[in-house]
């Protein structure tokens, strides 16, 4: 049977050659990541660059944890934006609302997956966390709120958002028709249903925003609460995490919006104003973050304890200086790119000679950068023990910075172009801020372990191996694949229902006061919160200074799972409210 898939909007359900090729390449990357993980599975984490802190002179957390924080950070922007659009009624941003939600869901899935390769016993992790998780561990928040609650909440939000579109698409014959019917779950786009969706999305937004701040702060607490780790201990960790999360998330969104605009031909819907809004928001966040960095730097070097000073020296002028100053430079340049159209144009830019010279410069530096990165890639993804080229380590460390500086230099030649095109500005700064975000996450995680031992151990070192890089790359490819899959199943924007569609039946239904529907969903919310409260404070392991064994066991086994269930019930209430069958009005 052949379906006519031409009618579905936004390229849904049509797979051109280019898309197939893209999927094939992604599957290739994923397979390599899976192969790398199989090495780690059979041999243990010995295949990574991680080692014990102390006499082994290593870092116990590395690239996996850095990327885990990065992924959770990216998720921040998506759902925040979606919630803000709903709460503040930002109509002009409506077209990117769904993209933002999808980015959130996918990056949270990636965050959950990234934790697994970091665990020495991943299978135990999957069972024991549900069984024994302790509220006192900052990981409890990361694991329950971020990965479970937040992911579930975002998925509910996304589901209720696509339901109307699924109902519209179910009208047309396509290979996903039955799926759309299932998802639409009887949605008929009546005014009552619309009003209900408006109510639930408002309440979900209100519920998600505080959860967001809590969830991202929890991640900061994973580091900020550790008094025994100079460089981590501090109250600035949590807010700084939230800010950086916003920067990287909006950066990803800017890139994705620009790509979809080009690939799906959405110039009409995705107006430059959207990019302008995101760009301006990013400028504010970058400036805030730079301010945080200055504060952090002052505290770490002004009159700090010797151990704090050792870590901050390693970051500012020592082993990690190339990365730190790279981050600062990248953030400043990306802020500069975004601000550039507001600045007066220097005359020299108009000069054709200048343009020609800079274009040549760009070509030369670009080629050189690519060559440098190729050298680096050969070493990085080399699964054998011997070095292929055998360059000294310090050289290998400064190589990426050299490449970055060259790449930044070549940007100069594109200033006239960047001043004209807001899309180019957004994409470029989106890429730059994300590189900076990843590097900054790494700078938070690693130096405190290698240089921040309170005992006089020798200075440690950590360099990720090909296994770690390959697994991360595979995960990134998996994320892109998930996004493409979504694109091919659902419209990335709200579909306009045509007037002739039989779906719009305007039959006002009486919905006032307390209906069974609202009582039921309110009940679910109350039960959900009660379950959370009881399982957190009374059923899970007690909180306090752990003087004996009772602090290590939940008072009721699997109470962490109960807590997660409570979080899910609260969000499930939204689905019940919308999907509860309507009474037939005679």
């Amino acid at each position: 049977m052949r379906f006519n898939t031409e009618q579905l909007p936004f390229g849904v359900a049509s797979l051109s050659r280019k898309w197939q090729a893209a999927i094939l390449i992604l599957v290739g990357f994923i397979s390599f990541g899976v192969y790398a993980y199989s090495r780690q599975w059979s041999e243990g984490l010995i295949v990574t660059g991680l080692r014990d802190i102390g006499t082994m002179g290593g870092a116990a957390w590395g690239l996996y944890i850095s990327f885990d924080i990065y992924f959770v950070g990216v998720s921040f922007a998506g759902i925040t934006l979606a919630a803000l659009i709903r709460l503040l009624n930002l109509k002009q941003l409506k077209p990117i609302s769904r993209m933002a939600e999808v980015v959130t869901v996918i990056s949270l899935i990636l965050a959950g997956l990234t934790i697994l390769p970091d665990l020495g016993q991943p299978v135990r992790g999957l069972t024991n966390l549900f069984r024994y998780a302790r509220p006192q561990s900052p990981f409890f928040g990361t694991f329950t709120l971020v990965i479970s609650g937040y992911l579930f909440g975002s998925m509910v939000y996304l589901y209720l958002d696509v339901r109307r579109d699924a109902a519209i698409m179910a009208q047309k014959s396509s290979r996903f028709q039955s799926l759309y019917k299932l998802i639409a779950a009887g949605y008929r786009d009546t005014p009552a249903e619309r009003a209900r969706h408006s109510t639930t999305s408002l309440w979900l937004s209100i519920a998600i925003l505080p959860l967001l701040i809590t969830a991202h702060s929890t991640l900061g607490f994973v580091f900020g609460l550790q008094a025994g780790r100079p460089g981590w201990f501090g109250s600035l960790q949590a807010p700084a995490f939230v800010i950086m999360a916003g920067i990287s998330g909006i950066g990803v969104l800017m890139i994705i919006t620009a790509i979809l605009r080009k690939v799906l031909g959405l110039e009409e819907q995705l107006k430059p104003e959207i990019f302008k809004w995101m760009g301006n928001f990013t400028i504010i966040l970058i400036l805030t973050y730079l301010y945080f960095m200055v504060v952090d730097w002052l505290t770490g070097s002004y009159a700090a304890a010797p151990h704090e000073a050792r870590v901050s020296d390693a970051i500012l002028i020592g082993e990690y200086a190339w990365l730190f100053w790279g981050v600062v430079l990248t953030l400043v340049v990306s802020a500069g790119i975004l601000i550039s159209p507001y600045l007066p144009s220097p005359k020299i830019i108009e000069n054709p000679n200048f343009r020609r010279t800079t274009r040549r410069l760009a070509r030369a530096t670009g080629t050189f950068t690519i060559a440098l990165l190729a050298v680096l890639a050969i070493e990085v993804f080399n699964p054998t023990e011997q070095a292929v080229i055998g360059l000294p380590t310090t050289f290998m460390q400064w190589l990426p910075l050299a490449a970055a500086i060259l790449a930044l230099l070549s940007i100069v030649s594109y200033i006239p172009f960047l001043r004209e095109s807001i899309i180019a500005r957004s994409v470029l700064s989106g890429i730059l801020v994300n590189l900076a975000a990843i590097a900054k996450r790494y700078l938070i995680v690693v130096p405190s372990q290698t240089h921040g031992t309170l005992l006089p151990y020798n200075v440690g070192s950590y360099s990720p191996t090909w296994v770690e890089y390959s697994i991360i790359l595979g995960l990134l490819a998996f994320g892109v694949l998930l996004f493409i899959t979504f694109l091919k199943i659902f419209p990335i924007m709200e579909v306009e229902a045509s007037k002739s569609d039989p779906i719009v039946e305007r039959k006002p239904g009486p919905e006032t006061g307390l209906t069974t529907r609202s009582i039921l969903s309110l009940g679910l919310v109350v039960i959900g919160f009660a379950l959370q409260f009881v399982s957190y404070f009374f059923l899970a392991a007690p909180i306090g200074i752990p003087t004996n064994e009772s602090f290590s066991n939940p008072r009721l086994p699997y109470s962490p799972a109960l807590f997660i269930g409570g979080v899910m019930l609260v969000f499930l209430a939204a689905i019940v409210y919308e999907l509860f069958p309507e009474r037939e009005v005679s």
Binding site: I46, I53, T55, S137
Partner: protein, 246 residues
């Protein structure tokens, strides 16, 4: 109930590292894993230098950062003062390791059998070395469960992907013996005992001499006390580069 702790007399320690050796033999720890470690320090400028030694077991803190952060309660505090690791529950996230101010945790980066000084699982190699004279021996006491909750918390070199650390030789202490390090110290620098009991040797030494708890300002309240010396300062440096990687 006894509340165990250790008193270490720095002035008696000669840095022979017999405690480290005893610990390795007793707990079957893999290469690069030192439940007990002895710092060899140097202070001052030539010719006015001083060399001194500082044993570093797990501090078995009363307010342990590692127990607080353990997401699954695998690291836990026992009423007798032990800070124990349940290797049967550990998921290998290494949060205890990054939270510990003292750096006493060791992760099994690979299957410990491959990391042991002798690969007991590779029969041919053992045949070659021992010629069948000596049979592989595993201390059966390490397999048992200890404490009122009966959890797997003794010994080291268990399985790939879990964190291990000094257990205060719980399997020996419950049988009325001192930990291997204290029992084997030739100069009697390590004193293990009930710190609540004024009659015990450890608490008497602590009573007679002024001591210190290492990194007291972190607030972990270690159960290991040092006497006969001072904590390392910023002037203190290790005399050797220790980077024992596996």
């Amino acid at each position: 109930m006894a509340k165990y702790g250790m008193v270490i007399d720095i002035s008696r320690c000669t840095g022979c590292r017999a405690c480290m050796e005893a610990c390795k033999v007793e707990n079957n720890t893999p290469q690069g894993s030192f439940f007990m470690y002895v710092f060899r320090f140097e202070e001052g400028e030539y010719p006015n230098t001083r060399i001194w030694f500082m044993p570093r077991p797990c501090m078995h803190c009363d307010n342990p950062p590692c127990v607080k952060v353990c997401p699954v309660g695998a690291r836990y505090k026992m009423a007798e003062g032990f800070t124990a690791t349940d290797w049967d529950r550990c998921i290998g996230c290494r949060y205890c390791e990054v939270a510990c101010p003292y750096g006493v945790n060791y992760f099994n980066w690979r299957n410990p059998a491959e990391s042991h000084y002798l690969n007991w699982e590779d029969d041919r190699e053992i045949e070659l070395i021992l010629d069948g004279e000596v049979l592989p021996y595993a201390n059966p006491d390490l397999e048992l469960e200890y404490g009122p909750e009966m959890r797997h918390n003794a010994g080291g070199g268990r399985l790939k992907g879990v964190v291990e650390k000094c257990t205060f030789c719980i399997h020996r202490v419950e049988n009325g013996l001192d930990p291997a390090c204290a029992a084997n110290c030739p100069t009697n620098a390590l004193h293990f005992g009930d710190l609540e009991d004024p009659e015990s040797e450890a608490s008497q030494i602590l009573h007679e001499q002024s001591g210190f708890q290492y990194l007291e300002d972190v607030g972990a309240e270690p159960r290991v006390h040092y006497v006969g010396g001072h904590p390392p300062t910023t002037e203190t440096r290790e005399i050797e580069i220790v980077n024992v990687r596996v």
